[in-house]
């Protein structure tokens, strides 16, 4: 499919520009996605027409903004098939969501000698909060091994998760290895041992249907900006009885029931976890992004991306001296493709690609323990989304070959 026959690409004005005199090929979607015109307009619409603080005023604007704010929550609830909108907490993003679980559930439930189990491929946001909790509580942080293909290894999960384990937290889709992990199966193992299952959905929720009841996860964290929405808004899903039992982590306005001189009672879910004026526009506009995704259908987005991977992965693998991390079978690989050109540092590669208009990420992808595990300092990463095309894929492959040619005498 070329750029013109992609039905969604025209909705993203930013893509229609030249970078270094070349047509922009945006392949850094795992870092953040671009926004359709409907989302960009929704930000302006809200501030032009409806802006007011939520849950406070009795005036008409306050009523309108509150209604939209809560309607967006219901859209999110349906989008991930949560049982109730009380289970949807607005946060700043995935990192914030995971920190809330660590600071609230973790603080209340982890004791010395307990185990927290994660994997070697976790993003720092699903690693450092648990590591710091473990240090503070004298608990043990354990890592599940990866398979040769780069998946979180179910066999090792069975070994690492024990009756001492209280929390298991795993990335649904890796931001580096291009794998979808068996989180549903890992959740079963966790529950058999009485542990809770936290899923980092930052890279899965934007790209595939995610059903929290089917996964039977206890918490799911994801970000708005990786799914066509604005930055600074994210979601923490949690099972209602767990959230009800958890103490709030931030205190102030919005989250109280009644404040006395010496004590305070908390308000109900979900607002108990939403102290202060929230990111009202962000939440409402995330709802618009979800409308856009729903109109296409998450099944269709997933199959479209997998078609792109079918097309591009063998082409990248066929370039001499290129190493691709994760599965080499396109059927097993998600649309996040990390690679290196042997003999060339990924930063030099990424600068070369940028000169050709191709935007990729180069670095450790906030996964330093994974880089150490793989024996690498960094990789380049191309990540696709619904507005990318086979034409983009061809430009990426051509740009890698051109960069390889530029440095043909080697640099390292």
């Amino acid at each position: 499919m070329d750029n013109k026959s992609n039905p969604w690409r025209k909705d993203f004005p930013i893509l229609d520009q030249k970078v270094n005199d070349e047509d922009l090929v945006y392949l850094d979607n795992a870092a953040t996605t671009q926004k359709p015109q409907a989302v960009i307009d929704a930000i302006s619409d809200f501030y032009s027409n409806d802006n007011a603080n939520v849950h406070r005023g009795v005036h008409t604007l306050a009523e309108r903004s509150t209604e939209e704010f809560e309607a967006a929550r219901e859209k999110i609830q349906k989008f991930i098939n949560a049982e109730s909108s009380e289970e949807i907490i607005y946060t700043k993003g995935t990192t914030d969501s995971l920190n809330i679980v660590a600071r609230s559930y973790g603080q209340s439930n982890i004791e010395a000698g307990d185990e927290i189990v994660i994997s070697y491929l976790e993003h720092h946001s699903n690693l450092v909060p648990w590591q710091q909790l473990a240090i503070q509580k004298h608990a043990t942080l354990k890592y599940i091994d990866l398979t040769d293909d780069g998946f979180v290894d179910l066999k090792d999960a069975k070994k690492q998760i024990t009756d001492k384990t209280k929390i298991v937290s795993i990335a649904h889709v890796s931001n580096v290895m291009g794998v979808e992990n068996p989180v549903k199966e890992i959740a079963k193992i966790a529950h058999q041992h009485g542990a809770i299952m936290v899923v980092d959905g930052a890279q899965s929720v934007p790209h595939m249907p995610v059903d929290v009841q089917d996964l039977d996860c206890d918490f799911l964290a994801f970000s708005g900006h990786k799914m066509l929405g604005p930055t600074g808004i994210g979601v923490l899903y949690g099972k209602k009885d767990l959230l009800n039992a958890m103490p709030p982590v931030d205190f102030g306005g919005e989250m109280i029931n009644f404040v006395h001189l010496q004590d305070t009672s908390w308000t109900d879910l979900p607002w108990k976890f939403e102290a202060g004026t929230p990111n009202i526009a962000g939440a409402i506009v995330l709802g618009k992004a979800i409308d856009y995704l729903n109109e296409i259908g998450m099944d269709k987005i997933q199959s479209y991306e997998s078609e792109l991977v079918d097309y591009v992965l063998p082409k990248i693998l066929a370039i001499p001296d290129v190493t691709v991390y994760g599965p080499s079978d396109p059927k097993k690989h998600t649309s996040v493709i990390s690679f290196n050109l042997n003999g060339l540092h990924p930063h030099d590669l990424a600068t070369g690609l940028d000169m050709e208009g191709v935007a990729v990420r180069a670095g450790h992808h906030c996964a330093q323990p994974l880089m150490t595990y793989l024996g690498l300092s960094a990789t380049a990463r191309a990540s696709f989304y619904l507005y990318n095309t086979k034409e983009d894929a061809d430009k990426l492959v051509d740009a890698i070959i051109a960069t390889k040619e530029f440095f043909k005498d080697g640099t390292i």
Binding site: N20, D21, E22, L344, H345, P346, H347, D348, T351, G352, D354, M355, E356, G357, A362, G363, H364, Q368, M371, S377, A378, A402, T403, F406, F407, D409, G410, T411, I412
Partner: protein, 142 residues
């Protein structure tokens, strides 16, 4: 051909320094050492400096990084060898000014002046300055 824009960044002398870095390794008798990381990319630079009587008498670097950071470290070690600490600090400042596109006394930078082209690639400035930052920190270490 868009890649030709990189000619200014990857001059032959830069590629040569990166492929065959000078003063690469470690010193047994260093007086000032530092390990500096570029947290955004994971690059690591270990710098060993020997200062005798306020003069840099030996220097070596190790670690890993991109073409620009390795070449910059190699050229920096060439440039500051046998210089006084004050001269070296002047060079640190001149390099920083040059790379930020400000007015700079590039004459004192010797080969390193060839990295001027990096100023047109803002995303790569940190790669070029890592070695010079390391030198400044090593010389000022308590």
């Amino acid at each position: 051909m868009a890649l030709s824009k990189m000619d200014n960044l990857y001059r032959q002398v830069i590629l040569d320094h990166s492929a065959h870095p000078h003063h690469h390794g470690k010193l047994d008798d260093s007086t000032n050492e530092i390990e500096l990381k570029n947290p955004t990319c994971g690059d690591v630079l270990q710098l060993d400096v020997k200062v005798d009587d306020n003069k840099i008498t030996d220097i070596a670097f190790s670690g890993y990084g991109c073409t620009i950071s390795q070449a910059s470290a190699s050229m920096m070690t060439d440039a500051v060898m046998d210089k006084t600490v004050d001269q070296a600090e002047d060079m640190v400042e001149a390099f920083s000014d040059m790379i930020l596109g400000e007015k700079s006394n590039t004459d004192i930078l010797e080969d390193s002046a060839v990295l001027k082209g990096v100023s047109q690639f803002p995303a790569r400035i940190k790669c070029a300055t890592l070695a010079w930052k390391a030198l400044h920190k090593a010389l000022n270490k308590e």
